[in-house]
């Protein structure tokens, strides 16, 4: 996915209205966009939401006379809340995400991008403004934003493990971080805390490969990170399994704690599982408490 229009020749990609990533994300999103997706609460907006008896604090001009004339009480017409939210996405594009243990499984990066973009599609269709962290793509609405986002997400990073940028987050907006969270925990912690400082809530989605959960190795092994910068040699990989799994659990625990402290939501997703489930969870997580 180093090319924005990967997997297809340039001409074909130009002819296509959406890059494959976008198409995939559209496909995934369409699976979710089945029912209602409105905010389903009263607020400022254009569409009718409900009639409710007028309260003393309601201004007189807000009374719906047509409805009130049919009864003795006064009614006020509520509009559905239509204030657009800003949502900032961070999808880890570091080398560690390009790991896929099996040909039949997508790499973590592919799955993360697809999920991120699908989420963006849903949100934009829901009327929100979606952007990327780090001032690369400020939140906007519209299909054009999706094209651009797809292009940016297709880029890859050279670093081993990615770290989120907390810049460009609007106060009280929402954020979505998708990564394997296997690298140094410190930048993530910082970013979350800074986000929390600004009143930004959101969701952390940890995407892991099944092999990273199972650690099915044995014998003398040299483990290398995806760029080769980090390496660890062991004579009996099988003996490391429990300790590795302990550490992984510890990492998840830490993230979970962090999320709880900052009011975020945390979930782990495996590339071996269905992407739709993860998308549903993401959508729900972003929908909550908004």
């Amino acid at each position: 996915m180093t090319q924005p229009l990967a997997l297809r020749s340039d001409a074909e990609a130009l002819a296509a209205p959406l890059p494959p990533l976008l198409a995939e994300a559209e496909h995934l999103a369409s699976a979710v966009l089945l029912g209602e997706h409105g905010r389903r609460r009263a607020g400022t907006g254009d569409t009718f939401w409900q009639y409710r008896p007028a309260q003393p604090h309601d201004e007189a001009r807000s009374i719906d006379w047509r409805r009130s004339a049919r009864s003795d009480a006064n009614f006020v017409q509520d509009k559905e809340w239509q204030i657009a939210q800003s949502i900032i996405l961070w999808v880890d594009q570091a080398a560690s995400m390009s790991f896929g243990s099996d040909e039949n499984l997508p790499t973590k990066g592919q799955r993360a991008r697809t999920l991120g973009l699908a989420c963006a599609i849903l949100l934009i269709r829901g009327g929100e403004r979606v952007g990327l962290t780090g001032l690369r793509l400020p939140p906007r609405r519209g299909e054009a934003q999706l094209m651009q986002m797809a292009q940016l997400l297709s880029q890859e990073d050279d670093t081993d493990y990615g770290a989120p940028e907390a810049q460009g987050m609007l106060p009280h907006s929402r954020a979505l971080f998708i990564s394997d969270f296997l690298g140094d925990i410190k930048p993530i912690e910082d970013a979350l805390l800074r986000a929390a400082d600004r009143g930004v809530g959101g969701a952390l989605l940890q995407v892991l490969d099944p092999q990273e959960e199972a650690f099915p190795f044995d014998g003398r092994t040299i483990f290398q990170s995806m760029t080769g910068a980090l390496q660890h040699e062991t004579l009996k990989a099988g003996d490391l399994k429990t300790r590795y799994l302990d550490r992984l659990a510890e990492r998840k625990d830490h993230l979970q704690n962090l999320a709880r402290v900052t009011g975020w939501q945390f979930q782990t997703h495996h590339t071996g599982e269905s992407a739709t489930n993860a998308l549903l969870w993401l959508y729900g997580a972003l929908e909550h408490h908004s």
């Binding site: 296997l182 690298g183 092999q211 099915p216 014998g219 092994t221 009996k236 990989a237």
Partner: protein, 918 residues
């Protein structure tokens, strides 16, 4: 060649490589298994984790051992190990290999021939001229038959043991010229002239003897003694106890040769001769044709029996009968009853009887003989006959043997006899006294109820006691006997019927007769008697002791037979002259077997041929196996067997281990292919072209069916009768080729099951252009051979109203590529009748199991891959018409197979409609 025990090494210095093994051990030990490099993002979490202290980074010892063993096996393998290496025999010049070639070598003849073969191979390597001579069958030429060893190796199967021992081969050798070395393959038995031959050979060159101390058994002729068959055998060398079994072989009542009896024969340690008795019912004994030592294929272990064991011929002569019709009072009645089962009874006048030369003549109460008759009888007795006389009123009343000893009576008789225990006499009836030890009846139990009321009395005289062989309790003789010449005369002092005693009513009577009759043997014919006669070989024996028909062989003069020494002129066997039979056996009554001894100057070698076995291949395979195990073990140690790619390895292992399952898989596939759709099948004949045509023909028929009918068959299948299940196919097309192999028994069973369960086979001999049905074309003959074991009902030519003529198309011709009308199907039942008003007879229910013809239907039906006809049929339009009819016939056949007699049932439609009231 360097030897360790039985193993030699071609390149022993390579074994020095074994010294390097410990170094290799240390080297291998120092090198831990190579690591695998894995990309793994989770490495960040692994940083800082250390391995356990006690974890060794060295290769495990057992893996080291495996590798060391593999290397050691390779080193030893390349050093060229040979099990039982053979040192080449040295020598040059001409070589003569002689074999005793007697019956004694027959049991291990192959070992001898192998030894000769090995010697010849060595001689071939040394480029020596050789001659192989069987001493028992010397060459007809006077020169030593020298030839290249390879030639002799080809002729070895023709050298066979002979059923005699060498007869003076030294004389033959002295005729020959030249010097040579001799290898002597000895049978281990001594024979006359052996030393002479050895001396003769030693004048020509060195002699090496090959001999193994092997037990040789010689079975002596069986003989009778007191009612028992005594079989004895001699052995050489005399040594440890030996137990073997002697079987008596003869024809059973059905005429099949089988084992009639078997007795163990035990050689005591140090005894050369063992003897055992067989007690056989006369019925069995009479049937015995030969005795054999079980498990010895040698002429010496077979002993043929001749007349000696045959049924006695017994002549019965009674005193003049003046009454008639009183069967139970006939003096001969009880004798007849007693002798009938065990002897051939001759009736007639005394003159006639004497001409027949019976073994026994029984006089029941015969008193007087005409002078010449008495002389003739006496002469017969002296030649070995046995005269058994019973007393009676006539004998008692006569003066016979009163004052002088009658030559035909064993004792003198007192006149009148006596009578005890009767109504008019004093005393109790007398019973029998126990038999004396020297009596032939000794040992027979005496029943209590045998009583004697009358008897003729012997005149007391000094020799009387010697003659008595049975007496009454009061000491009066009951049976007396005297010897006359080679024969004997026995007098029983009572009648042969129950008038004077109850003896003839008892079982003792039969036993006594048996003892007496059995103990008379025909004398061995002597040279004088045999002189001038010619005896024809009936069955002759070969060196292995198997009998062959000898009727093609020339007769043998009696003089030769009298000598009884088997040789090229007198093959052991059964010889017939007139009504007598004489057995010539390899082992005589008193043949003694001696071990062939050799002077100390003669080198003696064993007979065993040990084959060189090169172990290199085995060791190198072992190396490969060990290395393979090492590969797997190393992978396991290195964690490469488990982990991300384990599935590949597992799949590979499964593929390697589960090949048999693949077969099952194909069988299942076959079943599925054959059963998911209707499939026409043809029998694979093994002739690729025919099979291809059958396939194409059935394809064409299938396509036609698909187009024209509701039968929509899949592509046809070739069926291998031996391996494939037939039950799936409704129809088999079987093109018969002349050189088709016959199906196996299992395949026949399958075919018959197929035919009985409603399958149809269409036999096509494809020869209707040149042959008529049943004529002797090669295919027709093959078809007959194939069909012989098939369950095919009676057949007839397709009748005009057969259901095949109307199952789909209305046809009266059944052409294929040829238009013969000789097409045969199961015959209609005899009671098939044409009902009035019906167009057809009510014919056989069900499907004809066979259609037999030669019209080469497959060629007429055949289409190629593009759907074009492969073979022309006839000429022009009429040919195309014929092809059309052929296809229609095919459609009818398949319709018939699949719908049975449905069209036949149509004849009932009017009836059915009638019944329904329509």
């Amino acid at each position: 060649m360097w030897l360790i025990g039985p193993i030699g090494f071609a390149a022993p210095w390579l074994l020095l490589g074994l010294i390097a093994l410990p170094i290799l051990w240390i080297l291998l030990r120092a090198v831990p298994p190579a690591p695998i490099r894995r990309r793994f993002p989770g490495v960040a979490l692994l940083l800082g984790l250390t391995d356990d202290e006690n974890q060794s980074d060295r290769t495990p010892w057992w893996l080291l051992l495996l590798r060391i063993l593999a290397v050691a096996a390779a080193i030893i393998g390349f050093a060229g190990p040979v099990l039982n290496p053979q040192n080449a025999r040295e020598g040059s010049g001409d070589l003569v290999i002689i074999l005793d070639g007697s019956w004694a070598g027959a049991p291990s003849w192959q070992a001898r021939i192998d030894r000769v073969d090995t010697l010849l191979t060595e001689a071939a390597l040394a480029d020596r001229r050789t001659a192989v001579i069987n001493l028992s069958a010397l060459p007809a030429t006077e020169e030593l038959p020298f030839a290249a060893p390879g030639d002799w190796q080809n002729r070895l199967p023709g050298i066979q043991p002979q059923p005699w021992q060498p007869i003076d081969p030294a004389a033959w050798f002295t005729e020959t010229t030249g010097n040579f070395e001799t290898y002597w393959i000895s049978d281990g038995l001594d024979w006359d002239g052996r030393e002479d031959l050895l001396a003769a050979l030693e004048t020509r060159g060195g002699v090496t003897v090959f001999q193994t101390p092997r037990q040789n058994l010689g079975l002596r002729p069986a003989r009778f003694e007191d009612g028992e068959v005594i079989v004895s055998a001699t052995r050489s060398p005399v040594g440890n106890p030996l137990e073997t079994t002697i079987t008596a072989i003869g024809l059973d009542p059905a005429g099949v040769e089988r084992q009639l009896a078997a007795v163990p024969l035990i050689f005591e340690p140090g005894e050369a001769v063992a003897e055992t008795a067989m007690v056989l019912p006369p019925e069995l004994r009479n049937r015995i044709t030969r005795f054999e030592v079980t498990g010895r294929r040698s002429a010496g272990a077979v002993s043929l029996t001749d007349d000696a064991l045959k049924r006695r011929e017994v002549a019965l002569i009674a005193g003049r009968d003046d009454r008639e019709g009183l069967e139970l009072l006939s003096p001969l009645f009880y004798l007849r009853e007693a002798l009938e089962p065990t002897a051939d009874i001759i009736d007639g006048t005394l003159d006639d009887i004497l001409l027949a030369n019976p073994d026994v003549i029984i006089f029941a109460d015969v008193a007087n003989l005409a002078g010449t008759e008495a002389e003739a009888v006496l002469e017969w007795v002296e030649r070995g006959g046995m005269l058994l006389r019973f007393a009676g009123p006539r004998l008692a009343a006569s003066d016979q043997g009163r004052n002088v000893v009658d030559p035909l009576l064993p004792v003198r008789l007192r006149s009148g006899g006596r009578s005890v225990g009767g109504a008019m006499s004093w005393g109790e009836p007398k019973t029998l006294a126990p038999f004396a030890e020297d009596s032939p009846f000794f040992g027979l139990p005496i029943p209590d109820d045998v009583t004697v009321t009358s008897q003729v009395m012997a005149q007391p005289d000094p020799t009387l006691a010697d003659s008595v062989i049975a007496q009454l309790t009061d000491g009066t003789p009951l049976v007396t006997r005297t010897l006359a010449g080679d024969g004997q005369i026995v007098l029983v002092h009572v009648t042969a019927n129950a008038e004077w005693s109850s003896l003839p009513l008892s079982g003792l009577f039969v036993q006594m007769l048996e003892r007496l009759a059995v103990s008379t043997r025909p004398s061995t014919p002597d040279a004088a008697e045999l002189a001038g006669t010619t005896w024809l070989p009936n069955r002759v024996m070969d060196g292995y002791g198997s009998l062959e028909d000898g009727s093609a062989l020339p007769g043998v003069a009696g003089e030769v037979l009298a000598e009884g020494i088997p040789g090229p002129d007198l093959l052991p066997g059964l010889y017939a002259g007139g009504d007598r039979q004489l057995a010539i056996n390899v082992i005589g009554e008193d043949t003694v077997l001696n071990v062939a001894g050799w002077p100390t100057r003669i080198a003696i070698e064993g007979m065993d041929v040990v084959r060189e076995t090169a172990l290199k291949g085995w060791l190198l395979s072992a190396t490969m196996m060990l290395l393979l195990i090492d590969v797997i073990a190393s992978l396991a140690i290195g964690g490469r067997l488990r982990g991300p790619r384990a599935d590949v390895a597992a799949a590979l292992a499964v593929a390697l281990l589960w090949t048999p399952d693949a077969q099952a898989q194909t069988a299942e596939d076959f079943a599925l292919r054959a059963t998911t759709e209707v499939v026409l099948a043809h029998v694979l004949t093994g002739d690729a072209e025919i099979d291809e045509i059958s396939q194409a023909g059935l394809l064409g028929l299938s396509q036609t069916l698909f187009r024209r009918t509701s039968i929509e068959p899949a592509a046809p299948i070739g069926v291998d009768l031996e391996n494939d299940e037939l039950a799936f196919f409704p129809f088999l097309y079987w093109p018969v080729t002349a050189d088709q192999p016959l199906p196996s028994r299992e395949a026949y069973a399958k075919l018959n099951r197929y035919l009985r369960s409603g399958g149809m086979i269409m036999f096509d001999t494809r020869d209707a252009d040149s042959a008529r049905f049943g004529s002797g074309s090669p295919e027709g003959q093959r078809l007959q051979a194939i069909a012989r074991s098939l369950d095919i009902p009676g057949i007839e030519q397709i009748p005009p109203d057969h259901v095949l003529t109307r199952t789909f198309y209305l046809l009266q011709d059944f052409p294929g590529r040829y238009a013969s009308r000789d097409v045969w199907v199961e015959a209609a039942p005899i009671n098939a009748e044409q009902v009035d008003g019906m167009p057809f007879r009510n014919l056989n229910d069900g499907v004809t199991p066979v259609i037999i013809g030669g019209n080469d239907w497959a060629r007429a039906w055949a289409v190629d891959a593009n759907g074009r006809r492969m073979f022309p049929v006839g000429r022009g339009m009429s040919g195309e018409r014929q092809r059309e009819i052929a296809l229609r016939f095919g459609v009818n056949v398949i319709m018939h197979v699949l719908t049975g007699n449905y069209k036949s049932d149509q004849v009932h439609v009017p009836d059915l409609l009638d019944r329904l009231g329509q």
